[in-house]
Subunit: 155 residues, 4 copies
């Protein structure tokens, strides 16, 4: 496997994923080179990330006017190991790699239906205050949910 | 020319356009058939429409919290006369065809750099109230701006 | 119901649909007005159309180098009856309205999970020759498949 | 400035850019949080990269059937320093950071019209053979053009 800075041990890294969300490559997501356009992978990351956040129970708070925070992308990284093609069915795996006071570092892995790893990635999301745009600490409830998603993955 | 329901006389129709906005076909907007994906034309319509609204001075009111209305798309129609390809420079022409109490019917024409008409279209935008989502009448100021854009086109 | 030119009798029109494909509104498909951006509906139309073509068995021929034809969009029309929002689960209904020598007129209907019709649409696809770009007649096999999809819908 | 792994000295890094391409944030590129959706930055990177490749004279070879190679994205990285908003005019700066036998490492910087750095990024493009999909060495002509773009930047 390729040398990717954010992956220490590939087998351990793969085994750390327990959540995945299915996507299928749309026609409008291909480009004239006949494969998935590179920019569309981040749409899959976003969809996987949101479904993951819903799964662990912290997405709703961001969508209602009740909460003061919204998640913004701090950085993103993506490695393209295999080209993806129209109509391929993919699984977008998402896991938490690290939790900060106001942020969370997520890792991503996309597999095709032959089980081959096509894409790896990572990126930090930061919760910012809706009005100030400044980093905004996780409340206890959210922090607990973030943590428990790691614990359950490690069992 | 093709028979298109919303165009009575093609020459008159073409001559009615006085405003245009330039766009260029992006790589990520092509698809595996090697041409511009059909769904992306509506992005050009939207961009042309917004620039047109800015030109005649009614866009700002929708973007600030001052105004109570936002424009929503009521319907859209598009005829694809010629395929468009990566890197082509296009001009998106926009004009007002008719003005209602709460809506405006816009017509669109996209030409390539050889001056060939590649796309024609039309669609009605309705101003709705931000909170109720119901149609919301143009105020006098907006109505005047919409009307004067037609007058100036006809001179 | 609204008066829509391509729908004669709304109840009959609705009952004519037998095929649907599920989609969900992605975060990246919303815009700053907080709803689905108008341009993204055509992505749903395309996805529904392709899945429909796969279902009736004519998509494969276009994707392999074996066939000489590719389908291109001749025109598209869309009526927005209700706003769509992030995370809504939708069903994209597709049916054949009419078959020409080289083309097919498709109708679309998008319902939300309350069963409300949010979007209606139609558009003509033309089969063109890969090299000349000119309209290319359906072969007997394809024509039969197109026709049988209507017959089975009417039973 | 933030600590970003691929930037050693921020001032030197900024001064290394000599090429930029203008873009404007489209309405359809925003999302319901009211800012540019994170996935769209990569569209700007791609557009800037392609214009840069055209500028240094290596893009044409990839678009014609004459050449055997096409460029594919090997990895991408992006740091979001400031939120971007609808209608902002941006400059996408692109430069070559390193040249390999079959690849090139590009760096990106996006500034708003106040001259503030909003986005930084990098990513490696690899030339692969159209048929085999395997890495494909730069020919002398391309290598020269890649190199001269760095030299001219350093003068």
């Amino acid at each position: 496997m390729k040398n990717i800075a954010y992956i220490e041990n590939f087998d351990d890294w793969i085994n750390g994923f327990t959540y995945s969300y299915p996507v299928k490559v749309r026609f409008s997501e291909t480009d004239l080179f006949g494969h998935l356009n590179n920019t569309k992978v981040f749409v899959y990351f976003e969809e996987g990330r949101i479904e993951f956040f819903k799964e662990i129970g912290i997405m709703q708070q961001w969508l209602t006017s009740a909460g003061d925070g919204i998640p913004v992308t701090s950085d993103l990284q993506c490695n393209y190991l295999r080209q993806l093609f129209f109509d391929e069915r993919l699984d977008v795996f998402v896991k938490i790699n690290a939790i900060g006071k106001t942020s969370v570092d997520l890792h991503y892995m996309i597999k095709n239906h032959q089980g081959e790893i096509c894409i790896t990635g990572r990126g930090r999301m930061v919760q910012v205050h809706k009005k100030t745009g400044k980093p905004f600490e996780w409340d206890e409830n959210m922090m607990e949910k973030l943590k428990s998603s790691i614990v359950s993955a490690n069992i």
